[in-house]
Amino acid sequence: MKDRKAKIFNEEFFPQIEALNNFAYHLTYNQSDAEDLVQETFLKAYRFIDKYDEGTNAKAWLFRILKNAFINEYRKKSKAPQAVDIDQANLLKDEDEKAFKGFHDLREEMFQNMMGDEITNAINTLQEDFRTVILLCDVEDFTYEEIATILEIPIGTVRSRLHRARNLLREKLRKYANTKGY
């Protein structure tokens, strides 16, 4: 049993630690809290390893544990609940098509001249629910189905949330590019 656990952790779980740490950091904005969250995730995985099917989707399984730990423990401790502002979301919906068109009007060189810090900062300014789907889909390459499982929301919600998040991000980057004269 111990050998099986060690094999799973070494071959499947520990290779995901960078992605988990990255996700945790962009949820908490604090490296120490992020490390606590990652540690808690691994300890929970160790405790509940019987519920994991060896050789399946370790990354999605661990991300789901981390997300639940963040919601159930970290958020309660920090007493800083976050949710999508419905009014703002509705406003964003109205801006969606305009933002999308704006993005496609950008010149190609805009991409080459933007720095990683600006991209990361733009993502960090998104509200938590929008930021989360961008991180899971565009940064970590999870499919809609996997994201739906991790966040425990319907696929349709993933799709609409991601659509709005991308348009919002495009708009933020477009504004930044304009200020730089692109």
Binding site: K5, A6, F9, F14, I17, E18, N21, N22, Y25, Q31, A34, E35, V38, Q39, F42, L43, Y46, E97, F100, K101, F103, H104, F111, M114, M115, G116, D117, I119, T120, I123, I134, C137, D138, V139, D141, T143, Y144, E145, R159, L162, H163, R166, L169, R170
Partner: protein, 79 residues
Amino acid sequence: MSNLKESGSEFSKDFVSPSLEKRLSIEAKQELASELKSNPEYFQTLEKDEDFQMFIRTHFKRKEVSPALVDSIRAKMGM
């Protein structure tokens, strides 16, 4: 498919995002290939959307994991 020819945004909604999520059906993939062949502007749209996702992925700054964190986790699990 004719409605796609009327609007680039319809094309984007129906094909660009699904393509990025790698969830197009075989029929939809064939339809997309055919559409791209006859309408080069759609190819440009698809390419820009894929570029955007790739741009985010490659420029996003990832946090490094400290060896101390790995050691701490291993110690707590007795590994």
